[in-house]
Amino acid sequence: MQEQHAPAGGSNSSPWLNLGDSLPRSIEAYDLVKRFGDHVAVDHITFTVGEGEVFGLLGPNGAGKSTIIKMLTTLLPPTSGRALVAGYDVARQPTAVRQLIGYVPQAISADGGLTGYENLLVFAQLYDIPRAEQSKRVREALAFMGLQEAGDRLVRTYSGGMIRRLEVAQAALHRPAVLFLDEPTVGLDPIARKTVWEHLEALRQRLRMTMLLTTHYMEEADSLCQRVAIMHLGKIMGMGTPAELKASVGGPDTTLDEVFTHYTGNTLETGGSYRETARTRRAARRLG
């Protein structure tokens, strides 16, 4: 296991040393810790994400990915350490951080009792988009996510993939500097998953936003992320581009699954409390 606090020189064989040297940095986490009673959910995590980068936190349920996202999105105060998002301290300047980020939570965050249009309109108002622009921006965002036809239907009639795209539209409506996505495609079938990926990629190219996403799908990390951190039991076990991580373990033919097993001594199948499993399944059922 690598020690995070004492980097041993600039060797390429230690992928975690690549902390993202593309300045300026959009996300900076230094020695971040979150404890729940005796349980250490996030254990002295340090990483940075450069502007415009897509960064993935990869790991099984219970690895601490969602807890990191909750701290970076100001929902959960860190026990210790420090985190900056778009240059603002998440603990001391939460209001500034909230204005500059978008967030797609893991569970469904669109309101089924409202239409797609109304879901977006509410957030256009909450993010202080000028009244005259609101309607235009909402229609544009719906069209961009391929939802223009469905905009005036109640969200409870949407398919899982459509709900996810609506949620991404909702989170990106105010053109945030940093977009956080917690398990963006959990519970989706492969086709819906691919559509979500394509829309995320198009969105990134259009708005040049930084993205941090969590996933336990290797394929997702491989195809979406420029850099990946492998998480296990609250720690980052390895960090780098997917290619670097593969090279550090075997060679270009290595799969990320093998990389994960190498760094954690474990497979992705483990972990996850009853509650998390129940939640994932419920989300999967409703989204599917």
């Binding site: 902390l19 909750k70 569970a107 309101d111």
Partner: protein, 287 residues
């Protein structure tokens, strides 16, 4: 592969420079935004009611049964001193307050529902003041309460209760219903924030409703209660709501201005205090 330079965490974490500064907002702008966002939350809830109004209809049944069955029976036995009013007259404002209370006290279940999904998280990660989120929900509960008021007014009219149609009195009823629904729904939100699960919430909701309702002047005057219960009834905000409703809803009531001022003041202060507590606790829901 590119050569990567290791980046160590800065020595002094407190000295990391901030990258950008957002424009400072004046107090007036901040206040205008607060009002706007509160109204956004109210609007959101009203849209939901409009899409699915069945809830409002089913909610009308319970107060109807109270007035028709309980009210008619007790009107005949004349067991309760009502200060010269008919028992139905006496009871109608109490049942209005009760039906608003019952809707409001269980409204917190929606918070737990939204928590199990990711809705609460998304709102809390947005630049919306917590107080605006809580106050918006409170006022939306007030709007639901008003729909109850309309139903009870119609029902009372049918049953021959003599109502006061003075516009100022109607405005007063409107305000006191909003305050009452807002206060009790925020109380419910606070409980939801503390217990966090549906089962515990329903249990506590049941336990609270009965004493709130029966230890009040809703269906009998405080004067007939034993002394210890009178103390509780006088500390119960519902008693003030009912007192205000009784003097404003019914025709031929001699309005005690000082009493009415106290009723409004108590309800207003209770609501504000609860909203402030709720705004402190609400972020816990996402943790």
């Amino acid at each position: 592969m590119k050569q990567h330079v290791p980046v160590a965490p800065p020595e002094d974490l407190a000295n990391v420079e901030t990258a950008r500064t957002l424009p400072r907002t004046s107090f007036f702008t901040a206040f205008a935004r607060f009002v706007k966002k509160t109204l956004t939350i109210v609007g959101l809830e009203i849209r939901k009611i409009r899409h699915d109004p069945t809830d409002l209809v089913t909610r009308a049944i319970q107060p109807m049964l109270w007035l028709l069955i309980f009210g008619e029976v007790f009107a005949h036995i004349r067991a309760i001193p009502t200060g010269g009013r008919s028992y139905l007259d006496f009871m109608a404002p109490g049942i209005l307050a009760q039906s608003v209370l019952f809707i409001a006290i269980f409204s917190g279940i929606a918070i737990i529902w939204e928590r199990d999904l990711g809705i609460v998280h998304k709102f809390l990660a947005s630049p919306t003041p917590r107080t605006a989120l809580v106050l918006g929900k409170a006022l939306a509960a007030g709007v639901r309460g008003l729909s109850q008021a309309i139903i009870i007014y119609v029902l009372a009219l049918v049953l021959g209760v003599r109502m006061n149609w003075d516009p100022l009195a109607l405005l007063g009823v409107f305000i006191i219903i909003m305050l009452g629904a807002a206060a009790f729904s925020t109380f419910s939100l606070i409980i939801a924030c503390l217990v966090k699960t549906r089962e515990r919430f329903m249990g506590i909701g049941q336990v609270l409703t009965m004493p709130l309702f029966f230890a009040s002047n809703a269906i009998y005057p405080v004067a007939i209660m034993p002394a210890w219960l009178q103390v509780i009834a006088r500390g119960n905000p519902l008693s003030y709501e009912v007192d205000a409703l009784r003097s404003m809803m019914l025709a031929n009531e001699s309005i005690n201005a000082a009493g009415l001022v106290i009723d409004f003041a108590v309800m207003f202060v209770v609501m504000i205090v609860l909203v402030l507590i709720g705004a402190r606790l609400y972020p816990r829901v996402a943790q």
